[in-house]
C-alpha cells in the first residue's frame, strides 16, 4: 500500500501536488489576512470563482483517467459530478432547518410547497455530514459500477459507448426535472445557509472551500499517478491500445475498465460536492449533455493521457469562458467549438502533451546526434536485427 502511493510521487506529480498545496494555503491567506484595499488582496468572489475552476479541474482529471488512459470516451461524466453535487446539496438543504421561508424544521421549502407531509425515505440521513460525504462517493460510484458492468461486459466500445453515456446523463436530466422525483425539480436545491455550522457566505468558509478543492484536486492527481504507475496502470493503457490482445494474455478488459470507471465516477462526485457550496445551487441543468461534452474539450485542450493536462485545460478554458461570457456572451459557444476543432486538428496531444512530446523529441534528437558523433556507447540497432527488415505479406493466391 505504501509502495502504491510512494511510486506515484514522481517529479511531475510531486510538483503538481506541491503547487496545489501552496495554493490551498496562500489563496485563503491573501483573502483573509490582507486588507481589502491592498494590492495583494484577493476578493472572496475571485476565491470562489477559482475554487469552482478547481472542481472543474478535478472533474477533468477524473475523465482523463478513463478517456486518456483507457480510451473510454465518456460523454456522461457530468452526471457523476451532478450526483455528487446533489448529495452535498441535500445535506446543505437539511442544514437550513427551520430557517426556510415556510419555517418547517424537517421539510425543505420545495416539499412544503408541493404539500408533502413527510420526508421521502431517500432524504433520511442527509442531516449528517458524514452520511452525505459517503453518498457523494457511493451514489456516482454505484451508478458507474452498474452501468459499466453491463456496458463493458457486452463489449460495447467506441462511439456506441459514448452515445449511451450521453443517453445516461440525458435520462437523469429528464428525471431530475420532475417535481415528484423529490430533488426540487426545475429549481434544484439552493438558498443554502451553512455548512458544518459555518455560514456558507462568509469569507472564511469560502476560503476553506477553496482550500478543500485544491487539496481534493491534489489527491486526484496523487490517485491518478498511483494508478498509472502501478502494473494495473500499464494494463489500463494496454487495454486502450489493444484490448483484444490483453484477453489473450488472460486479462479481463471489462474488469480493468470497470475499476477505472468507478474510481473516476467517485472523483467526479467529489468534484461536484465541492462545486455546489461554492456556487450556491445545484439544479438539473448540471446533467445537460453539453456539460459533459465541455469536460471532454477541457481535457483535450490540456492534453489527455497527461497528468496535469486536464487541469491546465479546465483552468484555461473556463477562464476563457468567464472572460468571453462577460464580454461577448453570444460568441462563447462558437469560440468553444472552434477551439475544439483547432485542438483536434493542430494540437492532437493538447497543450501539455505537445510540450512534453516536444521536450522528449528534443532529447532524443540530442541523443541521436551524440550517437552519430560516436559519443553514445550503445549501438542504436542490433546487427542481427536490422530495423530495415520489412514485412511483405504473402502474395494473395
Amino acid at each position: 500500500m505504501s509502495h502504491f502511493f510512494l511510486r506515484a510521487l514522481d517529479r511531475q506529480a510531486s510538483l503538481a501536488i506541491l503547487a496545489l498545496l501552496v495554493l490551498a494555503a496562500v489563496v485563503p491567506a491573501l483573502n483573509l489576512l490582507t486588507p481589502p484595499g491592498s494590492a495583494l488582496h484577493l476578493s472572496t468572489f475571485t476565491v470562489s470563482l477559482f475554487g469552482k475552476y478547481l472542481t472543474y479541474a478535478l472533474l477533468a482529471v477524473a475523465l482523463n483517467l478513463v478517456w486518456g488512459y483507457c480510451g473510454i470516451l465518456s460523454l456522461g461524466h457530468g452526471a457523476f459530478f451532478a450526483l455528487g453535487g446533489y448529495a452535498m446539496g441535500m445535506y446543505l438543504m437539511r442544514q437550513i432547518g427551520s430557517r426556510g421561508v415556510y419555517g418547517n424544521p424537517l421539510l425543505p421549502d420545495f416539499m412544503v410547497f408541493l404539500n408533502w407531509k413527510t420526508l421521502p425515505w431517500f432524504w433520511h440521513g442527509f442531516d449528517h455530514f458524514w452520511f452525505a460525504a459517503i453518498m457523494v462517493l457511493l451514489v456516482p460510484g454505484l451508478l458507474a459500477f452498474v452501468f459499466g458492468w453491463f456496458a463493458f461486459r457486452s463489449r460495447v466500445t467506441g462511439v456506441y459507448l459514448s452515445i449511451i453515456t450521453q443517453a445516461l446523463t440525458y435520462a437523469l436530466l429528464l428525471s431530475f426535472f420532475r417535481n415528484d422525483m423529490g430533488f426540487g425539480g426545475n429549481n434544484g436545491l439552493t438558498d443554502f445557509k451553512d455548512i458544518l455550522g459555518f455560514d456558507i457566505q462568509s469569507d472564511a468558509t469560502r476560503s476553506v472551500l477553496f482550500a478543500a478543492s485544491a487539496v481534493a484536486l491534489a489527491l486526484g492527481v496523487l490517485v491518478t499517478s498511483a494508478i498509472i504507475r502501478s502494473k494495473y496502470g500499464k494494463i489500463l493503457i494496454a487495454v486502450r491500445d489493444a484490448e483484444s490482445r490483453t484477453r489473450f494474455l488472460g486479462y479481463r478488459p471489462e474488469r480493468v475498465k470497470l475499476f477505472a470507471f468507478v474510481v473516476s465516477a467517485c472523483m467526479a462526485g467529489v468534484a461536484g460536492a465541492l462545486y455546489v457550496p461554492q456556487v450556491g445551487i445545484i439544479n438539473p441543468g448540471e446533467f445537460a449533455p453539453a456539460n459533459s461534452i465541455e469536460i471532454v474539450i477541457w481535457t483535450a485542450v490540456g492534453g489527455r493521457a497527461t497528468l496535469i493536462g486536464p487541469i491546465v485545460g479546465a483552468l484555461l478554458v473556463n477562464a476563457g469562458k468567464s472572460f468571453f461570457t462577460g464580454w461577448l456572451p453570444e460568441l462563447w459557444l462558437f469560440v468553444l467549438g472552434g477551439l475544439f476543432v483547432a485542438v483536434t486538428l493542430f494540437l492532437p496531444r493538447g497543450i501539455i502533451g505537445t510540450l512534453a512530446h516536444g521536450w522528449s523529441g528534443l532529447r532524443q534528437r540530442r541523443a541521436s546526434s551524440s550517437a552519430e558523433t560516436g559519443t553514445d556507447a550503445e549501438p542504436r540497432l542490433p546487427p542481427d536485427m536490422p530495423a530495415g527488415s520489412k514485412y511483405e505479406p504473402a502474395a494473395a493466391e
Partner: protein
C-alpha cells in the same frame, strides 16, 4: 473419446465454422500430443488462422469438439479463461503494446495473478526481474528493453511477441506466421528458438516459408478449404499429388 484422453493436449474433432454462409472450417480434426511440435501449412484462406481463433476462444465453432488437456471443453470458455489455462498465441500480424516499452510488454505477459487488485499493488520482485532478463536474452532484445515497442522493426516485434509467449509460460503455443518479414538469418534463428521452446511444451506453428518448416523438422499438417488434406513428414506430404496441386505446385 480414448483419443481425446490419450496423452493428447489438444483435440479437435469435426469442427465447423462458417462466416455468413462461407465455410472457413469444414470438418476439421486435429490432435496435438503433449510436448509435440506441429507445423501447419496450406494456401491462403485455408482456415489456419481461423483454427487458432477457435482454439483461443475468439471464434465459437458452429459444431464440433475442441478439448484441451483431455477434458476441458474450450468451446465453453472465453479468451481470458483459455489464456489462463495455458494456451498462448502469437498473431499473424504482430500485436504488441506499442506505447509500452519492451520490458513492460514482457511484464504484462508474465504469468501470474490477473486480477485488478493484484495488479494495483503489484511490486516487481527480483524473481520477476530475473525471468524477464532471461527472456530478453533468449529473444535477443536485451539492448532494446527500454525502447517503446511501437518503435521496433517488424522482425523485432515478432520476437517480442514470441518473448511474451514465453513469459506467459503456456502449455501450448500457437504461433501464426512467425517469420513473415524476417531476413533469412533471422528465420534460421527463429527456427532454433522455437525448437528450444518446444523441448518443454507443445507448439503449433503456421508458416508458408518451406525452408523454415524444413528447419523445424517436425510432423506437418496440410490444411485446404477448412479441412486436413494430408499429414506426415514434410517429405511425405510434399510428395502427395493433392498437396502439390493445391499448394506446393503453384
Amino acid at each position: 473419446m480414448s483419443e481425446r484422453a490419450n496423452n493428447n493436449l489438444l483435440y479437435l474433432n469435426d469442427v465447423n465454422v462458417s462466416f455468413d454462409g462461407f465455410k472457413a472450417l469444414r470438418g476439421l480434426s486435429l490432435v496435438i500430443a503433449e510436448g509435440e511440435m506441429r507445423a501447419i501449412i496450406g494456401p491462403n484462406g485455408a482456415g489456419k488462422t481461423t483454427m487458432m481463433d477457435v482454439i483461443t476462444g475468439k471464434t465459437k465453432p458452429d459444431t464440433g469438439d475442441v478439448y484441451f488437456g483431455g477434458d476441458i471443453d474450450l468451446t465453453r470458455r472465453d479468451e481470458a479463461d483459455i489464456a489462463s489455462l495455458g494456451i498462448g498465441r502469437k498473431f499473424q500480424k504482430p500485436t504488441v503494446f506499442e506505447s509500452h516499452t519492451v520490458w513492460d510488454n514482457l511484464q504484462l505477459a508474465l504469468s501470474g495473478k490477473r486480477s485488478v487488485f493484484a495488479a494495483l499493488f503489484h511490486n516487481t520482485d527480483a524473481r520477476e526481474q530475473a525471468r524477464i532478463d532471461e527472456i530478453l536474452e533468449t529473444t535477443r532484445l536485451g539492448h532494446l528493453r527500454n525502447r517503446l515497442a511501437g518503435g521496433l522493426s517488424h522482425g523485432q516485434k515478432q520476437w517480442l511477441e514470441i518473448g511474451m509467449l514465453l513469459a506467459q509460460d503456456p502449455k501450448l503455443l500457437l504461433v501464426d506466421e512467425p517469420v513473415a518479414g524476417m531476413t533469412d538469418e533471422e528465420t534460421v534463428q527463429t527456427a532454433t528458438l522455437l525448437r528450444r521452446i518446444a523441448e518443454t511444451r507443445s507448439v503449433v506453428v503456421v508458416e508458408h516459408d518451406m525452408t523454415f518448416v524444413r528447419d523445424l523438422g517436425v510432423k506437418v499438417t496440410v490444411l485446404h478449404e477448412g479441412s486436413v488434406l494430408a499429414e506426415g513428414s514434410l517429405d511425405h506430404v510434399s510428395a502427395d499429388q493433392k498437396v502439390i496441386d493445391v499448394y506446393l505446385g503453384r
